[in-house]
């Protein structure tokens, strides 16, 4: 299992029956592939739809139906479309149960930076700031380190996406829960030891006596 699949499978375990979920572009999108069987979850795309599903097959593209990355998608029976104000009203108003986003850095305060690298990348924040500020639960999906550089740091050096503390961080090495007390190491990836995690992490982690191995969806 590669790192992305591992992260996606672990995050899929976090989704609850009946919840409304927004998956960011890229790795987070994979989460929908690993839902526990029978789990009824609705996916929102912030450009205006509840009921996202992957395009069922090539040739079925609707030029009026895309995800937030501009890629053609499908829609489930019972989908609902709406304008951008309504869509972000759902997000900001506490109606979105979970958002899963990628990350560039997460720090000891649990704050996330994921939208810009000044001087190098100015894509704009799109919906990320609203999602991280407004979703009931924010789950960050990212590799634990990037080319040997730790991404879980004492203090974000990159501009923050929100001052809101995220709720869970799932990497290819660990599951970490930002709390009032700091970053709590909750689980380790299969075959990964606590020492390896600590070595790849700049931030101080709160390490319990027993760190369970990640539970993964089928």
């Amino acid at each position: 299992m590669d790192a992305k699949e591992l992260i996606a499978r672990r995050i899929a375990m976090e989704l609850r029956e009946g919840s409304l979920v927004n998956l960011g572009i890229g790795l987070p999108t994979l989460v929908s592939h690993y839902l526990p069987p029978g789990l009824d979850v609705s996916f929102q795309t912030e450009n205006g739809l509840i009921g996202v599903e992957p395009l069922p097959e090539e040739g079925a593209e609707d030029e009026y139906l895309s995800d937030a990355g501009g890629r053609f998608i499908g829609a489930v029976p019972g989908a609902a479309s709406f304008d951008s104000c309504f869509s972000f009203g759902l997000i900001r108003g506490g109606h979105l149960d979970v958002t899963v986003l990628g990350g560039l850095q997460v720090d000891e305060r649990g704050q996330l930076a994921n939208w810009t690298i000044p001087g190098r990348m100015i894509p704009g924040m799109g919906g990320a700031m609203d999602l991280v500020t407004g979703a009931r639960r924010v789950i960050v999906a990212m590799t634990h380190a990037a080319k040997g550089e730790p991404k879980i740091v004492r203090r974000c050096s990159l501009p923050l996406t929100s001052v809101r503390r995220v709720d869970l961080l799932v990497t290819d090495m660990a599951v970490i829960a930002p709390t009032e007390r700091g970053l709590e190491l909750r689980e380790r990836a299969p075959g990964i030891g606590v020492e390896q995690i600590l070595a790849a992490t700049e931030a101080r982690l709160i390490v319990p006596d027993d760190v369970a191995e990640m539970k993964l969806s089928a």
Binding site: A75, S81, I122, G124, M125, G126, V163
Partner: protein, 221 residues
Amino acid sequence: MHKMIALEDAVALIPDGASLLIGGFMGIGSPHRLLGELARQGRRNLSVIANDTARPGFGIGKLIDARAIANLTASHIGTNPTTQQQIIAGDLTVELCPQGTLAERIRAAGSGLGGVLTPTGLGTTVAQGKRTIEIDGRTWLLDLPIAADFALIAAHRADYRCNLDYAMTARNFNPIMAMAGRTVIAEAAEIVPVGVIPPDEVITPGTLVDHLLRRDAANGR
């Protein structure tokens, strides 16, 4: 009320330097005929408010390619490298605004509200230079309304009275912008008789639309 207008004449209404609200999200639901003609007529120095600039050769990317835009307010420009190049070269200034805030700012202008009190962006670089308002011990960022000289919007269907509907995610910013442009120019994929769009399915009432593009021989998008 006769509101139908030829593409060329509609675009001729828009002077150099005008401010434009332009619907669409990555080109999905953008007014492609209007954008193509704006580029063709060589409009310059536009101020554009839109979610993004799509990609080179597509959607608002056509205005970027034509170097028609001097100022841009958007939530995302990462998909168009030409936009980024023009910013780096100093040919284009950009204000980046969180997407939900952008939508609400346009809605505030169109709905006669004085601003938007949002939690989004508080404590980040987006808050720099902006006022915060404390209400019952909680702090909110005050973002200001955005209106424009023109709103250029793309509908799915328009009826003869310019009532509009939209399809799926092509709705996005279009109906919000139709409230906030001093002149609203719409194009539609289909034009249908009055009554085909039932009252409950009209998203933008025709009274908001000033001009509707005529069908023409080369009606491609």
